[in-house]
Symmetry: C2
Subunit: 238 residues, 2 copies
DNA sequence: CGCCAGGTTGATTTCGCTCAAGCAATGTGG
DNA sequence: CCACATTGCTTGAGCGAAATCAACCTGGCG
């Protein structure tokens, strides 16, 4: 299932240094160590990088592409906890917690991902405390977001939560058109949007229809137009 | 509102060392620094230690008592994100994330809490990377729990989630009676139980009634009896 | 004593789920 | 090139779990 082709990893160091707020503190020695031990692989959409319950072998640095982190039920239920963009590091949480993986990682767009084994990771953190602190900051930020997500899930309507999700994506991906509207492309399918909020895809359909009919958003396929960002912002409150 | 009485802090060091899995790595020098700078105060039920939105002044080590961490809405909605027991440290998350507090801390039972200012905290972490790594582990564990909580909140019924909460409390507080039943005392009110799950207190009432009528639990006031822990475990699935 | 906090119970409403059908785009094998 | 799966999404009808609204109960306390 996971089709890998080992690639030259000459530029891992570059990637870590320029596109990661955590790894950028590495020194020459550490970077060399990583160039020697890291394994870069190409993945196709649908490939699984690791499964919930797996022991942690190391961490995965997303060099390019897009990866989804999912948590599933013994029943069919699954939620999409986060989507990892280039520059993100996966698997550091269970490594730091000394737990097995509590979610699985699934490739959403063809990606190049660099694997750094746990031993190397620990060794580098040992010699370079700043890296550990950077991951502490990362974990602290994600924890804040996760707690907020819980709070919203029990507090806000599907509509308000979807509006919030759109706002977050707009902030990350949006660009302003000449007419003042914000536009961007959804990075994931509607089913995945539903999984991000923990609702059914039918509910997402209906909410999109509602927002459309009220002139708040126009969503065609994966193209999003927000004529008036302020009115979308208003939806985020109930 | 917050009634403080500065106490002798001779025994902070002791407390940190024996009852905290994070602070236990401190050396003599660090412990002395903390004894000199930390401020221990007594709080009464209902006192607020910090508010959502406040800048982070430092961290709070719970020496004794019980503290609730809450997140509130502009509307009446509030959720109880966690309850902090003796040995727990509050405020390290926003400090590490370099964010303002995203939740407020409210004293649930008369408590003694030691304040360690941000500057001292940073200075100690600087000289003692192991402390930072311990907090990384803590954050990683909490992040895993938070993600699971989100998943459960959108996946499981109120009944199943309440069963899970009881199981967690049982594991922490329960003791086995002669007849093989598990028993413990609820640490918080029913309203707070509801806030922990993000449901209305009426729903908790009804679920407690249901479980009672099916012989799965007996909950009188704050006393919980679980005649057959296995049957409670079954409730945790749907 | 009245009042309030904390909790229970009942009646009603509502939001999102479930179930079911259908549609458009894409692919695939005969 | 057609028949027909398959995938991703939409729409509708009906249902159900939990929220809402409201009444009431209990014990503690100024």
């Amino acid at each position: 299932m996971v089709k890998k082709r080992v690639a030259r990893n000459a530029s891992i160091a570059d990637s870590l240094f320029t596109s990661s707020p955590e790894w950028c503190v590495l020194n020459e020695v550490d970077l060399t160590t990583i160039e020697e031990t890291a394994i870069c692989s190409s993945y196709d959409t649908g490939d699984i990088i690791f499964y919930e319950g797996d022991e942690v072998q190391g961490v995965y640095f997303v060099k390019s592409g897009l990866v989804g982190v999912r948590k599933a039920d013994f029943e069919g239920n699954s939620t999409l906890l986060k989507i990892a963009n280039p520059g993100d590091t996966l698997g550091y949480r269970p490594l730091a917690a000394e737990q097995p993986h509590r979610a699985s990682a699934e490739v959403l767009k063809p990606s190049v991902i660099c694997f750094i084994d746990a031993k190397t990771m620990r060794q580098i953190v040992q010699g370079n405390p700043a890296l550990g602190l950077n991951f502490l900051k990362r974990a602290a930020l994600e924890l804040g977001d996760a707690e907020e997500k819980f709070h919203e899930s029990v507090t806000l309507s599907t509509r308000a939560r979807f509006a919030h999700l759109l706002i977050v994506m707009q902030d990350k991906l949006g660009h302003e058109a000449e007419d003042g509207s914000q536009q961007f492309t959804l990075p994931v399918s509607r089913s995945d949007l539903a999984d991000m909020l923990g609702v059914r895809r039918e509910s997402i359909s209906r909410v999109i229809h509602e927002l459309e009919s009220e002139g708040i958003t126009e969503i065609r396929e994966r193209n999003v137009v927000v004529p008036d960002p302020d009115s979308l912002m208003n939806e985020f409150h109930r």
